[in-house]
């Protein structure tokens, strides 16, 4: 058992729902107890969808368990088919139904429906939401494209030079972080390169569209968490190369253009020369010097966390002080990036562990999910959301992609907005004891009504072997420490104590504090 306060991912059948809901003309019959219908509200409330997810639940109760739950499933599947007339039917079980082993796949097959029936085996006690989405998308692609599969030794012929290259966009789904706008942005980008988008899937795709995937020259994998399994199969089966760069940030978008150009055998020079992002200039403008070396903690799904680390370091001049993900399936990629940054990666889906790590790292900005937004709020640290899991405010009415050059603009604004503006921060440094301008005050362009009063969280320190000889703080040193902005105060305290301990000092004086400051100065 695992003690869990908040979860980053839902169960795998919610991942399957994200695929079913993203697609057109499919229906998902889910063997599940009463109550599992809660998942509908994720789509209707958080994403503000104007239709119910295309999901029928058997909602069995205790009294049904003594009877025939298999019959209940068959009735539900038959009625759902008759009512909704889908072009493909997905069937599966939620965690409880998995235990009663009714075999939804077999039961649905016995109904002899005139459309493809895709049985989903999503082990609820081992796997989670993103895996469920990836597996479901893969199974749907496989099943729908099966009739178009070429022989095993088939080789993709060279593209007719008279035809524009064409690709599929894979991965955007329901409940995705800005997927809707990313698709628009990347479609525009590809269009500027002279590349046609053949099929976008699963978002907006019908089963017949999945059958046509093999007709494209290559695949663009927008969200590896969801699309990589399917893209790997398409690469093996239809000999379609797939992109590996996720175009989030200016540098990554440029790399993406180069990668796409190479796959499509076109010249990227014009596209690279004419890009429109304001991020590079905004970042170089003098006002942004205050961003230099800002300590930033990053946590999210692997794709967004890795992209954020690169933007933070290379495009905004931040210092990345923490990097982690809840996507265990992609832990290796995050580890590699963390290593380059000289960081210990945080691979966990335990919220409390993330909270501890954030408090320990004493960052000045937290980039994370809605959960890290709450952690940051509790710690009184500015934050921005970069990844699912998400809430209603992550579906803005305006166009707000994360990908491509416009995505980089959006990211610049979103990350910089929660921070103090340049001169304001300097004034704060000068007039730290000003009654209106104290270090607990929010940036003046954010009216929190004083809500930013930081809540200190006691972080239990690792018991050190020499805890009993911890040096004592002299009164004036302690007073001086309080003048250091709260978001770095914890770090300053720990650094100073470590500095003193290493030198065998028993007391920390004003001198020690500034000696330590000079020692650790960056």
């Amino acid at each position: 058992m695992q003690l869990t306060l908040w979860t980053y991912e839902g169960p795998p059948h919610v991942g399957a729902m994200r695929i079913a809901t993203a697609m057109d003309r499919v229906h998902y019959v889910l063997h599940a107890p009463q109550g599992d219908t809660y998942a509908d509200l994720l789509f209707t409330m958080i994403e503000r969808r104007d239709q119910r997810p295309p999901v029928t639940y058997t909602t069995f109760q205790a009294r049904d368990l003594g009877g025939d739950t298999a019959e209940l499933f068959k009735t539900a599947a038959k009625e759902a088919f008759d009512r909704f007339q889908p072009e493909a039917l997905m069937v599966g079980a939620s965690c409880t139904a998995e235990l009663i082993q009714d075999d939804p796949g077999g039961l649905a097959a016995a109904l002899q429906l005139p459309v493809p029936v895709v049985p989903l085996e999503l082990p609820a006690y081992q796997k989670k939401e993103n895996w469920g989405a990836a597996e479901t998308f893969y199974q749907m692609v496989r099943r729908c494209a099966a009739s178009h599969m070429p022989a095993g030794d088939w080789q993709r012929p060279a593209r007719d030079p008279g035809r524009q290259p064409r690709c599929n966009l894979l991965g955007p789904s329901a409940l995705g972080f800005r997927h809707r706008d990313d698709v628009t942005e990347i479609t525009r980008l590809l269009d500027a390169l002279g590349i046609d988008v053949h099929v976008v899937a699963p978002l907006g795709a019908r089963p017949v569209d999945l059958a046509r995937l093999g007709e494209a020259d290559f695949n663009v994998v927008l969200y590896p968490e969801i699309a990589k399994t399917a893209a790997d199969w398409l690469a093996r089966t239809f000999k379609q190369p797939a992109t590996t760069v996720v175009p989030i940030g200016v540098g990554a978008t440029e790399d993406f253009i180069r990668e796409v150009a190479e796959i499509a055998e076109i010249d990227p020079t014009t596209a690279l020369a004419s890009h429109q992002s304001r991020l590079p200039w905004y970042s170089r403008s003098v006002d942004s010097t205050y961003l230099t070396g800002k300590r930033v903690f990053i946590f999210g799904d692997a794709t967004h966390a890795i992209a954020a680390a690169r933007i933070a370091k290379d495009e905004l001049g931040f210092e990345v002080v923490g990097l982690g993900t809840y996507s265990r399936e992609f832990a290796r990629d995050v580890r590699a990036v963390a290593k380059e940054l000289g960081l210990e990666p945080l691979i966990t889906d335990e919220y409390l562990e993330v909270e501890r790590a954030v408090a320990d790292a004493a960052p000045e900005l937290v980039l994370g999910t809605q959960m890290e937004r709450h952690i940051a709020k509790r710690l009184g640290i500015p934050s921005a959301v970069i990844s699912a899991p998400i809430h209603v405010q992550d579906f803005p009415a305006r166009y707000a992609p994360q990908m491509g050059f416009e995505g980089a603009n959006v990211i610049f604004d979103t990350w910089v907005h929660p921070l103090m503006m340049g001169l304001e921060e300097h004034l704060l440094g000068m007039f730290r004891e000003d009654f209106e301008f104290h270090d607990g005050a929010a940036p003046s362009h954010l009216s929190h009504g004083g809500a930013s009063e930081p809540i200190s969280v006691e972080v239990p320190l690792e018991p050190s072997s020499n805890a009993d000889v911890m040096p004592l703080w002299a009164e004036d040193a302690e007073r001086e420490l309080k003048k250091i902005p709260f978001f770095v105060r914890g770090k300053a305290r720990r650094n100073t104590e470590a500095f003193a301990t290493e030198r065998g000092l028993t007391a920390i004086t004003l001198e020690t504090l500034y000696d330590a400051k000079a020692y650790y100065s960056r």
Binding site: T4, L5, P11, R52, D64, R83, H391
Partner: protein, 428 residues
């Protein structure tokens, strides 16, 4: 003639009306959802769901992002290896409870909450609770109940939780006088208002279940008279009756008239005369009626359709029809408790469709056909119905908002009026 008097003269309303019983897909929450408000109500209690990732995800989704502080609920998520053998699962549970209590020494009452998967694998949480209680006593009391969807619908989770508290209540002393127990979680502000009214009426001592702290559990016995503040407490009522307590038959304290009749039931049991009762309730009742007036003007004759959700549907239908002049078309409830709802049913028009259980697709068909002005439904249905042009009221708001009592009557009416008022304001 007051609305009440008018009903008294009419027939038995919906008391004997046929009920449409449905057994299809039920678009409802399970009983785990009750944790969202129960953990705020009992301030030193912790709710540990023994379940799956789905359970954790459900509570988190139902609670939205209400992370005020580290929550006093969590899920012990069962994994593949826990399903292999039961002894293993018990050890795991002991370990997790130890970990939890070490982290939260402020917790005095721990509920182990059963879920669908724990019920299906027949994990005996009552034995776990006994074992853990013995281990952690006297610092922490460990109880258990089931909030599983296979056994409970939404508010039945509160019923199961309160029923699990009843055996813990001390026996009232043999020489004690009559006492009043108000049963069902109410907002603190509502509780305080009721307490003041009972004091003025000379009714007491008065206790509330659940209490705000586990150390304030009331005592119970043959001299206890109890009033249900919520309509979904069948098991709790049965458990209280077994302890000798007697239920005061009343409608539920919604609206000016509902609240009056509810207080009247207690006043009658205490032999309070009519003049004194009138003297105490007149001012707040007049205030409540006045607060309802503008909403009645907006809502009278509007057609309203209730999807089953919280079991509050029947008392709410009574309120909107008798106090606001609305016209209920269908009133769905997950479960119809005829005895507890007797005085509410008697006040409903006999041509209303009463439905119990659900087949959501068929009910949506009926709903569209009946073209209501307002639909009361769960969060999964609200936006899709709005997109079809049908105004909706989310039913969960009726549980998360203080709606009982005189001072909240206007607020309750406003909840129904707001979606319609909003439509008249918007010109986009």
């Amino acid at each position: 003639m007051t609305a009440q008097a008018a009903f008294a003269q009419s027939n038995k309303g919906c008391s004997d009306a046929p009920v449409l019983k449905e057994r299809g897909q039920r678009e409802v929450f399970c009983g785990l959802t009750g944790i969202v408000w129960l953990h705020r109500k009992i301030q030193d209690a912790f709710f540990l769901v023994v379940g799956s990732r789905t359970c954790a995800h459900l509570i988190q989704s139902a609670a939205g992002v209400m992370i005020f502080a580290e929550p006093r609920f969590a899920t012990a998520i069962m994994e593949e290896r826990d399903l292999a053998g039961l002894a293993d699962a018990n050890d795991e549970l002991d370990r997790i409870v130890g970990q939890l209590l070490e982290r939260r020494p402020d917790i005095k009452l721990l509920f182990l909450v059963g879920s669908c998967p724990s019920e299906v694998i027949k994990l005996d949480l009552s034995r776990s609770a006994e074992r853990l209680s013995a281990r952690h006593s006297p610092a922490v009391r460990v109880l258990n109940y089931s909030g599983s969807g296979i056994e409970t619908t939404f508010t039945q989770g509160e019923d199961a939780c309160l029923a699990s508290l009843v055996p813990e209540l001390a026996l009232e002393s043999a020489d004690s006088d009559k006492s009043l127990l108000v049963v069902g979680a109410l907002a603190d502000v509502v509780e305080d208002q009721f307490r003041r009214l009972f004091d003025s009426l000379g009714i007491g001592p008065v206790a509330f279940l659940p209490p705000r702290r586990s150390s304030e559990l009331p005592s119970v016995g043959p001299h206890t008279r109890y009033l249900l503040a919520q309509p979904f407490l069948g098991d709790t009522a049965r458990a209280l009756e077994e302890r000798g307590a007697k239920r005061l038959n009343a409608p539920f304290p919604l609206g000016a008239e509902g609240t009056t009749a509810w207080l009247r039931a207690a006043a009658d049991a205490w032999g309070i005369d009519g003049d004194r009762f009138e003297a105490v309730v007149e001012a707040p009742r007049t205030r409540a009626r006045k607060a309802l007036e503008p909403h009645r003007f907006r809502l009278a004759n509007k057609r309203i359709f209730f999807f089953p959700d919280s079991q509050l549907e029947i008392p709410l239908a009574r309120f909107v029809s008798s106090e606001l002049g609305m016209n209920p078309l269908e009133v769905g409830t997950p479960y119809l408790h005829r005895e507890h709802l007797g005085s509410e049913l008697a006040q409903l028009r006999s041509d209303i469709v009463l439905s119990e259980g659900q087949d959501v697709e068929k009910q949506l068909d009926r709903c569209r056909t009946s073209s209501p002005d307002l639909v009361v439904c769960g969060l999964g249905l609200a936006n899709p119905l709005e997109a079809e042009g049908i105004a909706t009221k989310w039913s969960i708001e009726l549980l998360f908002t203080p709606i009982q009592g005189y001072e909240q009557a206007g607020d309750l009416a406003e909840l129904f009026a707001r979606p319609l008022v909003r439509r008249t304001k918007l010109e986009v």
